[in-house]
């Protein structure tokens, strides 16, 4: 694939993105939806129960954003983590133990601090957030993972939310959560992490399911809009693949 190949791929991609955006905006603008129901994802049901029971039993929630760099494809899953964080903070900030957020990349620790403050201020306008609720873990994967262990063990964490980019080191985190008797809600964009999560977490979030989190925890209408858009684009992709494959098989295309 040479340069102009890349270029017209670029145009193709731009076209794709533009269509995506148009559909997203139209659905978003018509956001007073006729009834729509989503398929059950047990992880999210448990999530809400865990959040409420954590507040009642005076336990902590711990959310960790992974180590994907902000400047790259890996970032998006941590954006989801941020919106979950906002939700968690809104729901449990005033409880005895405010939730904790850790991250393995500097940018995400800054952003999680911002999200945390914003959500907390919505709950209690004149509040002072202590700085320790947002922690930068470590900068290498393993040091990041091991830096979350003391939190999981010592901080009365009842639910660990893993949303972001992880590698094989995620096994340390899930294992620690298992040992400490806490539950885990985990999803990632990396297949390595997904494989480990699938094998070692009770209700794993596979692949795209993580990106639906915003809708399932009701972070706002825009999440539902984007979810519907994802479904639309999914079927468009399926049609493209089938049609293109047929044409190609008949020798019309290429």
């Amino acid at each position: 694939m040479n340069l102009d190949g890349m270029l017209d791929n670029g145009m193709l991609g731009l076209f794709f993105v533009v269509i995506f955006g148009i559909i997203l905006c139209t659905i978003f603008s018509f956001s007073r939806f006729q009834r729509i129901s989503l398929r059950n994802i047990s992880a999210f049901t448990d999530f809400v129960h865990e959040v409420s029971s954590a507040i009642e039993t005076g336990q902590r929630l711990h959310l960790t954003l992974g180590r994907g760099s902000l400047n790259g494809v890996q970032g998006a899953s941590a954006f989801i983590g941020l919106s979950i964080l906002g939700k968690i903070v809104q729901s449990s900030y005033l409880s005895d133990y405010p939730p904790l957020a850790t991250s393995g990349d500097a940018n995400w620790s800054i952003l999680s601090e911002d999200t945390y403050n914003k959500a907390a201020k919505e709950i209690e306008p004149d509040t002072r957030i202590q700085t320790d609720v947002n922690q930068m873990g470590g900068f290498t994967p393993m040091s990041y993972a091991s830096s979350t262990l003391p939190i999981i063990y010592d901080q009365h964490v009842s639910l660990n939310v893993l949303s972001g980019h992880f590698g094989s080191e995620v096994a340390l985190i899930t294992d620690a959560a298992e040992r400490s008797g806490a539950r885990t809600l985990a999803g990632s964009d990396g297949l390595t992490a997904q494989a480990i999560i699938y094998s070692s977490v009770d209700d794993p979030l596979l692949g795209e399911e993580l990106y639906a989190a915003g809708t399932y925890v009701q972070s706002g209408p825009q999440h539902l809009a984007s979810l519907i858009t994802q479904d639309v684009m999914r079927w468009i992709l399926v049609l493209i693949i089938l049609g293109g494959g047929l044409l190609h098989f008949l020798g019309i295309l290429w």
Binding site: R32, Q34, I41, T45, N71, T140, L191, T215, Q218, P221
Partner: protein, 426 residues
Amino acid sequence: MAEIRCHSCGKTNPANSEFCSFCQAVLGSTAVGNVQEPSLNSEYHPTNETLPDPVETNQVSQGRDPSMEGKNPLAGLDNALPLEPTVRDLTKPVVYPVQSSETDIQKAYTLLLSQMVKDETKRPTYTRSAPKKSQSILRIVVAGILFFTILVPILWNKPAAQLPSLSTELILFDQKISELSPGATVLYSVDYDPSATAEMEAASWAVINQLMARDIQLVLVSTTPTGPVQAARLVQNIISTQQNQVGSPLPASQIINLGLIPGGSAGLASFSENPSFFLKDATEMQMGENPASEQTQPVLDLTSISNLAMVVVVTDTPETARNWIEQVQPWLGGKPLMMILSAQAEPLIQSYYEGGIRQVEGVVISVAGGAGYEELVGIKGPALEMWSAFVNASWIAGTLIILAGMIHLVYTQMVQEKQGSGEKTS
């Protein structure tokens, strides 16, 4: 006049309105804390002991009220789980909307009651279960068996059970290396996390030896933050091995450590477009830091990366490998892109060197590949040393997973029957 800001669209509505006039979101449950009337926020500071109070329960009701479905963009969703009503209001400053009528309150109480009942039945009562004994026993047993089977061949350094089979990629790899003309420049990217060092160095040892033997000029780069140190460590190892073998230190010009290519995939893209941009920083960075890279003359002709004779990428993550394939390979102008992969990157990169269009012209995969290559070129390196232990480990691991899995399955079934309770294990 009090105003309520809508939670979902942020616009303000008169306080006595039930729904946002812009986005139709329900205002009661979401307007909490956003009421503009200062007296409400400043004076009323509830504690967690606040008794459920009509209006609060009124808010509780709204997420569930069937008559509201379709009004709030999300209230209508089955399975879109309302966090505020069930959870948030337990600890929230209570605000008195202007409209709260008897009927509301009564409806609210009934709904709250049913809500509570439903929650009590649904919600798993939380108990912080101490780590199970069986689990730690299992862990210790597995560890013991694993350590034993690995230690046996190491202690009585038993010759490798069976030498690895040579894959076609290995032979291609060797061909490409033997095609290199002496003195050619090879870009060698040290792109593995420190944790993967053991595996990757075992896999790449023979390759580096071959490159050194053909006195190739090695240009080390990296896209991972700890990469430069890894590269320096590599240089040290190469120099020491060279001194052990040849007895004379290799010329400083032969290895150049360019350091870090920051910026992930985008950084790689711009590196492949004009390497000289990074070269400037790199050469300046290198001054007087790394004895092996003082002389940076030969690099300066690196105006385009197609000048390179070959690019060898050593990585343990599929993401990095894909970055190199997508960003750099198109710019190489037919020059081979080789990869030394960790086992965990293999499944996802497979399609790039097996497929019809071979974007990667040769791969060495993990310890098996390294051992195979050492066997191919007839030298004994770390991979062959750890090979027999590695084979034992992999076989015992598979066996453990099956056997212990069965045993554990039976055990848990028995335990459940003993408890006789239908509590879910998953």
